[in-house]
């Protein structure tokens, strides 16, 4: 018998649903990363894992450990907070890096640096 039997049923069912939701969303995000065709499309896929994917797994963990330990165990929320704050930084940097490289190669798929600013032919 495992420790999980000590969890009451009213907590086990929502926790199980949250676990399935979170892992399913993460899997779909990774699937999108594998299947989508252009880089900028793929940039959207991990957001599934880092938004409600992480959040629902964290909530499930809080429910489980709080009922197991019979006291509020909320430290997993820190992971949720941490992921929420750091993901924009990484995604923005990656987007900018990709844009920078595509512009340096004069790719037609990305918009020019600015509408108001003229191209700088003197730099080359």
């Amino acid at each position: 018998m495992s420790h999980l039997d000590a969890v009451p049923l009213w907590a086990a069912i929502p926790a199980a649903l949250l676990i399935l939701l979170g892992s399913g969303l993460t899997l779909l995000g990774a699937l999108g990363l594998a299947r989508l065709r252009s880089f900028y499309d793929r940039l959207h896929a991990p957001a599934l894992a880092t938004s409600w994917g992480t959040l629902s797994l964290v909530l499930a963990s809080v429910i489980l450990f709080s009922t197991l330990e019979q006291r509020p165990v909320v430290h997993d929320l820190l992971i949720g907070f941490f992921v929420m704050v750091t993901t924009p930084v990484t995604m923005m940097l990656l987007g900018r890096a990709a844009l920078h490289r595509d512009r340096a190669e004069r790719s037609a798929a990305v918009p020019p640096a600015s509408l108001a600013e003229p191209e700088e032919p003197s730099r080359r």
């Binding site: 969303l25 900028y40 820190l78």
Partner: protein, 161 residues
């Protein structure tokens, strides 16, 4: 008081985090408070621009709206990923002129935009105030512009003043 604790919210947040990571006891409360106050001084030495919040009451409303929107776009993007190759999905870049200038407000907007699957923050031009987004499902451009400007930006302007 403001010399000793220049960032009271930051200090309270750090003490709370310390108590969550450890177990509550008097010793940990004292140690956590000490560390948080020192961290507050370190933050003060960096001299960041201090955000001034005008309307606290609008914050929970915005958080609720964002959580709901993120859930909705999660479902939408998950469905689009599964039907990839069959539907006529078109993604593309979108320029949105912003009225927001406050760095903290822009940071919050960046978190909202990036946390929502379906929109990605690509570039922000500080001179012109134009934000370049990449939108996963660009069916109507005006709708996305309206979403950013009226649903999020207007509320952030209200909060940050």
């Amino acid at each position: 008081m403001s010399r000793l604790v220049p960032y009271p919210l930051l200090v309270v947040g750090l003490v709370l985090m310390w108590l969550i990571l450890t177990r509550f006891s008097l010793g940990h409360l004292l140690l956590g408070t000490g560390i948080a106050v020192v961290a507050g001084w370190a933050m003060g030495a960096l001299e960041p621009e201090r955000p001034r919040l005008r309307r606290w009451s609008a914050i929970p409303v915005l958080m609720g709206i964002v959580a709901w929107d993120i859930l909705r776009s999660n479902v939408a993007v998950a469905r689009l990923v599964l039907s990839e190759g069959r539907g006529a999905r078109r993604s593309g870049f979108l320029r949105v002129p912003l009225r927001l200038r406050h760095p903290s407000a822009l940071a919050v907007l960046a978190i909202i935009v990036t946390a929502t699957p379906g929109t990605a923050w690509v570039e922000y031009d500080a001179d012109t105030g134009v934000l370049l987004l990449h939108v996963f499902d660009l069916v109507d451009e005006a709708g996305w512009r309206d979403l950013i400007q009226n649903r999020y930006e207007a509320r952030l302007l209200e909060i940050f003043g």
